[in-house]
Subunit: 592 residues, 2 copies
Amino acid sequence: MTESLLLSRRDLDFLLYEWLDAEALTKRPRYAEHGRETFDAMLDLSAEMAARHFAPHNKKNDAQEPRFDGERVHIIPEVGEALRVFAGSGLLGATMDEEVGGLRLPSLVAGACMAWFQAANVGTCAYPFLTTGNANLLLAHGSREQIDTWVRPMVAGRFFGTMCLSEPQAGSSLADVRTRAEPRPDGRYRLFGSKMWISGGDHELAENIVHLVLARIPGGPPGVKGLSLFIVPKYLLNEDGSPGARNDVSLAGLNHKMGYRGTTNALLNFGEREGAWGELVGEPHRGLAYMFHMMNEARTGVGLGATALGYTGYLHALDYARGRPQGRPLTDRDPASPQVPIVEHADVRRMLLAQKAYVEGALGLCLYAARLLDEERTAPAEEERARARLLLDVLTPVVKSWPSQWCLAANDLAIQVHGGYGYTREYDVEQFYRDNRLNPIHEGTHGIHGLDLLGRKAVMNGGAGLRLLLETIAATARRADAAGGEAAEFGASLTAAAQRLGAVTAHLWAGGSPEEALANASVYLEAAGHVVLAWIWLEQLLAAQGGTSAFHAGKRQAARYFFRVELPRTGPQFDLLMARDLTAAQMDPDWF
Amino acid sequence: MTESLLLSRRDLDFLLYEWLDAEALTKRPRYAEHGRETFDAMLDLSAEMAARHFAPHNKKNDAQEPRFDGERVHIIPEVGEALRVFAGSGLLGATMDEEVGGLRLPSLVAGACMAWFQAANVGTCAYPFLTTGNANLLLAHGSREQIDTWVRPMVAGRFFGTMCLSEPQAGSSLADVRTRAEPRPDGRYRLFGSKMWISGGDHELAENIVHLVLARIPGGPPGVKGLSLFIVPKYLLNEDGSPGARNDVSLAGLNHKMGYRGTTNALLNFGEREGAWGELVGEPHRGLAYMFHMMNEARTGVGLGATALGYTGYLHALDYARGRPQGRPLTDRDPASPQVPIVEHADVRRMLLAQKAYVEGALGLCLYAARLLDEERTAPAEEERARARLLLDVLTPVVKSWPSQWCLAANDLAIQVHGGYGYTREYDVEQFYRDNRLNPIHEGTHGIHGLDLLGRKAVMNGGAGLRLLLETIAATARRADAAGGEAAEFGASLTAAAQRLGAVTAHLWAGGSPEEALANASVYLEAAGHVVLAWIWLEQLLAAQGGTSAFHAGKRQAARYFFRVELPRTGPQFDLLMARDLTAAQMDPDWF
């Protein structure tokens, strides 16, 4: 597959250099050894590796999904080959320090690199994605020895990582995790329990698998406050750090999914025999807080993966629409005249422009979030770092959920542009649609993120996070106002919508019970998401304003589309929230 | 599978007897031999056959889809067995006269019966569905001899039927059909050409396959005005009517779809050798008009199929939500207290209520349309018959498109209610979602129906169809106003929305070019669809008003949901249309 069907490099250049000023990061000590050349080289390399090693087996790994024969998991060989190439690039440690084998790239650049792989093959990508997240967690919360023992081989691609949270009786409700970890005299633990939905949970793609497992140490507090985090490897290590005997972790079975089939997804049993050896990460009972390090990264990654799937679907649809002749303009019904490419039809153009608005908006949002990570890490003043941390915190549910919803909608439109062909497995877009349908479910469902945004993020620290978001939006609107013309007009629309978001939040929490306030939390998430995306589009419009190229004209038109067609959707949503509508909440279960 | 996971018999009873007054039809001479007992008996039989013979192989036929080995098509044997049982019930001729083997049921009852089978197994259903449509076309436009030769064996289930319109270069654009039919001295024709996307195009489920083929007789006018309709059987008939030699029709290949896999979908070549024998239906060059007989029936059938898939998905989600414990109420975070079934969570209830509003609304719409067919056929006065015909004509794009969009949305929510489980093939809902994704594509894409509604149906006969729809809606609103209370309130909302629909239509066509008027035809279709569904829900609310049961309370709550959450979506859509927004239309293809 050619790179040009995966992502638009022109768009990445725009987002990184014309908007988010990636080059400014090279002034920071952490990134001083980088320059635009090294960023560009990594982007070139990623695009090329993605097209050459990841995209070609995307369809095959869907049709011939991983299979468990009761003994071992069989995966087509292309996956392992692609991952060896990937590990060789150093991207597993893209943002990490050199001392653990990392490239010390900004998250902004690393995110743009990862998007190429996710667009090419989201199933194969999940392995490095989880490995990096696992390693980052241990870098933040593990001991020096744990970093040496587990992180280095992961960054080198010798070991892969997982995150083990859910259990059959505990999906969204982590308070109900039952897996227990019994302390042993040598300081280690023996784990007993079942973990569900473990992506990359078993395979032979790496020498070892490093499971990060939430479990309870007997005697700890109930609920999430009694969860501790453990490193539980598939293979115990020999003295020299090489994998030795099997740990007591066994694969009970693989889930057979609608999409995302290339990633094994497993039910794992820990401690069917004498107990699975595990070592504690950090302090007891603080496991969930540590795990949030990885979960937040995973949530941003889910948003980026959803975006990448939407993006490649859009490019496929555009390519098809430019090449497929069908029908004639409304003013020329003469059947003797030649048919026109379907991109000429207004409704096809509408579907393409909607996709463009969704996927380029979502990519902008994800890269903006990555840029915040870089600010959090390297901004000169602590105040700036704290500001970035807070803004990222409040944005995370949107970064995870908005692309999951709207880039799936983009994939739906990509199928529709293809007509009947798009519905067949002979074409690519139906797989993107199936793959993307996972994203509103994993790493916190859509509903969970609604509760997170309205119930936690919007009210934490006396509402400081939401205030910061609204101030940041207001600053953009002021720039738009100064720019005049349609930017000012859209800025005014954005200001009105943002003020409504603030007013609705205050209204929902002004008296009344949490049940009432949160009854329509998902609607709130969606309305807030559209306000955030309108802001991202206004930012892109401002960045594109001076441009005279067709590319810049397209950016401006997509921004217009978002303001004219998408942002108005929030009107009825805010009305519903302001009315504190309880229609759904008051539906008696017996009435269904 | 139990019947109660397919459809709600209680709801069907409500729609048929408490709302649409099916019993009144038994006063009409055509249906005089029927009574509620026979209607109920057919519904009971359908539910039982669907659960017993259709549902059990739904998953298997998806996993082991039909396969073409280059010689013949292999289909799991359960399909043929189910279809033999179905044919034995007489339902292939449900609405037809006894003289051709039919049951002479009202379309209203026949539709309700078919919905059971579509909910159980939409893939297997497509064969009888197309066969009945084919036979109905020939009953309306075929000769006496054609009815005897082809219709009788189809009604008996010995022959199956197809409709062959599309070609590789002619999907939505039927003006570009190239298949040619050369007249021969004996009055028959030889056909040459390729037909694409032929559902049921090849199989060995029946003794013969009766293809209805659009083709051009040389010398005819170009475009759609030069299309004639032909009967082209897979096997030529012997003197005694039994199938004999193979006709020159060959299977070039099967399409491999995302869903709806149980139905073979074929590329057929006619006339690879000496030409495929065909006989003309009716007069030359009137083929498309005849085909519309079948297409309109198929479009209503698509709406009903989409509804049935949405409905069974909803019932599966409801069943899961009642049985799956997870999490606790917001006011009880004590991890020692037992988990509650997820139906207790507001967001799950919202997703279930939305599904209920979509699927029960859509079922109401489809059965209302079926009732119009009965009026068209049997109303005492010609004026009433003409009124029913006109109203059905204007409603057809909505009946096809609204369920295809919103019952797919219901399936999406059904997956979401199931969480990760819903994404696996171990559960049923992911298949419903994949199956349902076909419906916005076939029998006219969503965009084509937008053009049909705004470009043809809303303006035909000087706008008589749309006027009739708006008058019919207004009559319901007046009844609601008389009923008072919330019915009156919703009636006022409906009146305002319907008036806006009328005003928008007039505005779009008042000056300006057709391109401008039709630039947002899909948005118009969606807004009009929501107005129509609000009307259907107000009708259901009025029918449920006196009821004291939990079922009736549920109907009222679903109606409230539709008016409070769904109808307001039309506000921004109407705004966009009133602004004659050209953002998408003015997107230069080079700007993408």
